[in-house]
Amino acid sequence: MTSRPPRISRTGKSLIGFTYMLFIVLLLVPLLQIVFGAGKQGMGSFTQSLLRPEALHAMWMTFSVVVVVTLLNTFFGILTAIVIVRGDWLGRRVRQLMNSIIDLPFAVSPVIGGFMIVLLLGPHTVLGAFLAKVGMPVVYAFPGMVLATLFVTFPLMVREVVPVLQEIGTQQEEAASLLGAYSWTTFWKVTWPSIRWGVTYGVVLTIARSLGEFGAVLVVSGNIINKTQTMTTLVYQDVDNFNIAAANSVSLVLAVGSVTLLLLMEWAKKRKGVQADAH
């Protein structure tokens, strides 16, 4: 990094120019388009689209899904990572298998992810019919949306924590338990400080993904207006109804959220890097 040439050759300059063009055309212009699109229709129309009852409800749904999914995924993600790296009660092969299974949701199309839940718990299935009768329908209701989003976000936390745990090794934890600290204390005093920034990064990734999840939620929720509609599925419906201005307004809110999360990601990544160097 330090041995950069002071002068940039002509090829270099044109390559930099190309990269700039690429980023501007592919990333920046589309993003600004959303901002200007909303600005062009004026503040009144912008707030009006957002204050529609269905828009307010969609925001509430998205918020609820994000909160519930982030909490559950953080808890189970950390636990799974600890088991994969430290779970001696499982054989090495089983843990290796688990480690590969973690990545499966990355390979599954979100639509298929939602479809799986409909197949297993939909109104036509025994389990789904039973749950609906007990008053807790899963599909076309909130629990299904949480399940679908959990499926999609599952690898995010695990993938952040596993490498950190592998890197720090067991020495400190063993020392702690030798000194008589029980595992709960060991976790908070020894393990947690090392994985903290990995977890923070995982949380930001989970929020971003659950905020933006569309395909899986669309299939599972049935996109019922004022009931199971989220912000992303509302954008879809608005576009479908040729109400581009409204779609644009909702998208702007989502985009502002994602850009904020992107900045948070950068910040967490830096902290994570600082911590990794310290080890």
Partner: protein
């Protein structure tokens, strides 16, 4: 608290919960798709797949996802290299922007493309006057796929460049190798594992993409209907059999790619 946590039953309960969570959340649903696709027997599966609209959608998806992956390999490799090699104003900003498609909801990505290239935009009108169709045609699908998978190649190549030994490049230069020869014989081999795994990840993600594509594709059966949108349509029209058949093809393909990436990475790690 500690005494409670150390109680055997609690520990056992904890472990069972965790394994059940993985089983119920991931393994069972995936198995469910395969079971559903075969529930009517192999004949029905083959029948669902030989349905022209079904295999046309799968073939279209593979073709366009491959194009998107190739584009990303080309521009991603160059961008990763430029971001690593040169220091220029705005470099940090561009580097942060790389992850934007990961952070942005795919539906918003789709809407952006629709606004930018659609019939009401000047790009769309220009293309229209030349007799080209972008939105509701194949080009828009490729653009959507490229946008969504943009970070993969860059993020796979960057760590390799950070690790790479500059001295090799300098030695090649000192020995009189031309710039292009240095690039192809020294730099490209250093980046190759990242290019391959990043490209394959991009391909697999493009195969699976739904949100960005559904808004811009127009979803004309047999023409611009990609596999994930086809699956969605079959679910909506209450034909789980047809949806499962195409899902199985997509899933198997994605799993193969994932497995291939892992195998390649394990091999790179060993050598």
């Amino acid at each position: 608290m500690n005494a409670v946590l150390h109680h055997k039953g609690v520990l056992w309960g904890f472990r069972t919960t965790l394994l059940l969570y993985m089983l119920l959340l991931i393994i069972l649903p995936i198995a469910g798709i395969y079971v559903q696709s075969l529930s009517g027997g192999l004949g029905v599966l083959v029948e669902s797949l030989t349905e022209p609209l079904a295999w046309q959608s799968v073939w279209l998806t593979i073709r366009l996802a491959f194009m998107a992956a190739v584009i990303n390999v080309a521009v991603g490799t160059v961008s990763a290299w430029v971001l690593h090699r040169y220091s220029f104003p705005g470099r940090t900003l561009l580097n942060s922007l790389v992850d934007l498609p990961f952070a942005l909801p795919t539906a918003v990505g789709g809407l952006m493309i629709l606004l930018l290239l659609g019939p009401n935009s000047w790009v769309g009108q220009l293309a229209d006057s030349m007799g080209l169709r972008i939105v509701f045609a194949e080009p828009a699908i490729v653009v959507a796929m490229v946008f969504v998978t943009f970070p993969f190649v860059i993020r796979a190549v960057q760590p390799l460049l950070e690790e790479a030994d500059r001295s090799q490049e300098e030695a090649a230069h000192t020995l009189g190798a031309s710039k292009w020869r240095t690039f192809f014989q020294v730099l490209l081999p250093q980046m190759r594992p990242g290019i391959i795994s990043g490209g394959m990840l991009a391909f697999s993600r493009a195969l699976a993409e739904f949100g960005a594509v559904v808004l811009v594709a127009g979803n004309i059966p047999g023409k611009t209907l990609i596999a994930s949108v086809y699956i969605f349509g079959e679910i909506e029209s209450d034909n789980p059999q047809g949806a499962a058949a195409v899902s199985v093809i997509l899933l198997t393909l994605s799993f193969l790619i994932l497995w291939l990436i892992n195998t390649l990475q394990a091999r790179e790690g060993r050598s």
